[in-house]
């Protein structure tokens, strides 16, 4: 069963909270991982690996560099399920 955009956003927010302690309510589609949420490259990679497992997707290293905002990640996961 495919996850909806809302479900992916909620799941991603949970993973971000687990890794960084950022409140899930802060995780909105327009937020930039680096500029708004202050997530560094190592934490980002941890979130990516956990997202792969949670949503059953593959996110190659080269693709991670293109995930600038939460929306980028939600869209990628939604479209590659």
């Amino acid at each position: 069963m495919a996850y909806t955009t809302d479900e992916v956003l909620a799941g991603l927010a949970e993973l971000i909270t687990d890794e960084t302690g950022i409140d899930a309510s802060e995780v909105a589609l327009e937020k930039s991982f680096t500029d708004d949420l202050d997530i560094d490259s190592i934490s980002m990679m941890t979130i990516v690996v956990n997202a792969e497992e949670k949503f059953g997707v593959t996110i190659p290293d080269d693709e991670v560099k293109n995930l600038k905002t939460v929306k980028d990640a939600v869209d990628y996961i939604t479209n590659n399920q």
């Binding site: 490259s41 190592i42 990679m45």
Partner: protein
């Protein structure tokens, strides 16, 4: 009648008798290196766990560090150095490509005419060399083996590089191995993936430098990609190593991964589900990342600070440029 060749035979097992260590003379704090990378002490501590890294003075090379570490191991093992018939030095920072460091080390520690060669397996070099020494002793090709990881990485860093240079230190760690009545080194899990050679390594060749096409080659890495590989791929290797050794996480006294970055170490330990009883090496915090030397240096420090770990089992795993990796469980001396 055809002649039947005689083959060497060795003891059933080998083990590590003693460890030795040598660190660069100067402890360099973060504040001394943050200028050229526009960083801060807090940023480096938070992202890598490093507080200081040790760096050697100009006159001290990987060779001198290797000799000092080896002498300590010989003294602790109380073995006559003339008995040592194999010397393996793992290094990526020998600035003189030939002769090998190993042959000169063998001579300086009194082991001539021991067989001697260098291993280039980056941060996995020490575990590669332990695998070889163990196998060669059990095959009867050597009786006592000196395995050393030795690096002077400060010769191959760029102070303006934000990817890896600020992590790196200089040092050498040595392990003296010999025959044993009981198993002291488990089966090794090792391998490589040259398709990822570009993730970490030197940024130019010596011929490019000679021809004026590049500056003095220095180390670079793709940090996030290396992090992913080092934690999640290496966790699989570590688990397989434990299984092959017949060891459960709770049987371990210590976990001694290559000291690449404290966040790799922490996440790695988390992935393995190690109980609190397992000591986790954190030598990187004050020594820095010393590539092939990091595991023996971390082992030496653990044993110095917690002598009760002696006789216990340690899972050690090296991983780095190549990419290459090697892991085994050893009985701590």
């Amino acid at each position: 009648m055809p002649v039947t060749l005689k083959e060497a035979t060795g003891p059933a097992h080998s083990r590590i008798y003693a460890m030795g260590a040598a660190r660069g003379e100067n402890a360099v704090p973060n504040d001394d290196i943050v200028g050229p990378i526009n960083s801060s002490d807090e940023w480096i501590r938070q992202r890598t766990g490093v507080i200081t890294r040790v760096r050697a003075v100009r006159e001290t090379g990987a060779l001198e560090l290797a000799v000092e570490a080896a002498r300590e191991a010989i003294e602790k093992a109380a073995i006559d150095p003339a008995e040592i018939d194999l010397v393996i030095v793992a290094t990526i920072s020998n600035v003189q490509q030939t002769p090998s460091i190993s042959a000169v080390v063998a001579d300086r520690i009194g082991a001539t005419p021991a067989a001697a060669y260098d291993v280039n397996a980056a941060c996995a070099g020490y575990c590669y060399a332990i695998a070889q020494a163990d196998a060669l002793i059990r095959a009867g090709a050597a009786r006592y083996a000196m395995v050393i990881g030795a690096e002077k990485l400060s010769d191959v860093i760029d102070p303006t590089d934000r990817s890896i240079s600020f992590l790196l230190g200089d040092g050498a760690g040595a392990a003296l191995l010999g025959p044993s009545d009981t198993p002291g080194v488990s089966a090794t899990s090792w391998g490589s993936d040259g398709s990822k050679a570009g993730l970490v390594g030197m940024n130019a060749t010596l011929t490019q430098f000679r021809d004026g096409e590049a500056a003095w080659p220095t180390l670079r890495q793709e940090g996030p990609s290396v992090f992913r590989w080092a934690v999640w791929e290496m966790a699989k290797v570590a688990k397989q190593t434990l299984e092959n050794a017949g060891v459960k996480p709770e049987d371990l006294a210590a976990f001694i991964p290559h000291q690449a970055n404290m966040r790799i170490v922490d996440e790695f330990a988390k992935q393995l589900g190690l109980p609190d009883t397992v000591a986790i090496a954190d030598d990187i915090t004050t020594t820095g990342n010393t590539s092939a030397a990091s595991i023996p240096l971390a082992t030496h420090r653990l044993l110095q600070e917690r002598p009760e770990l002696s006789g216990g089992l340690a899972l050690q795993i090296g991983f780095g440029a190549g990419l290459v990796f090697a892991a085994q469980v050893v009985v701590l001396p």
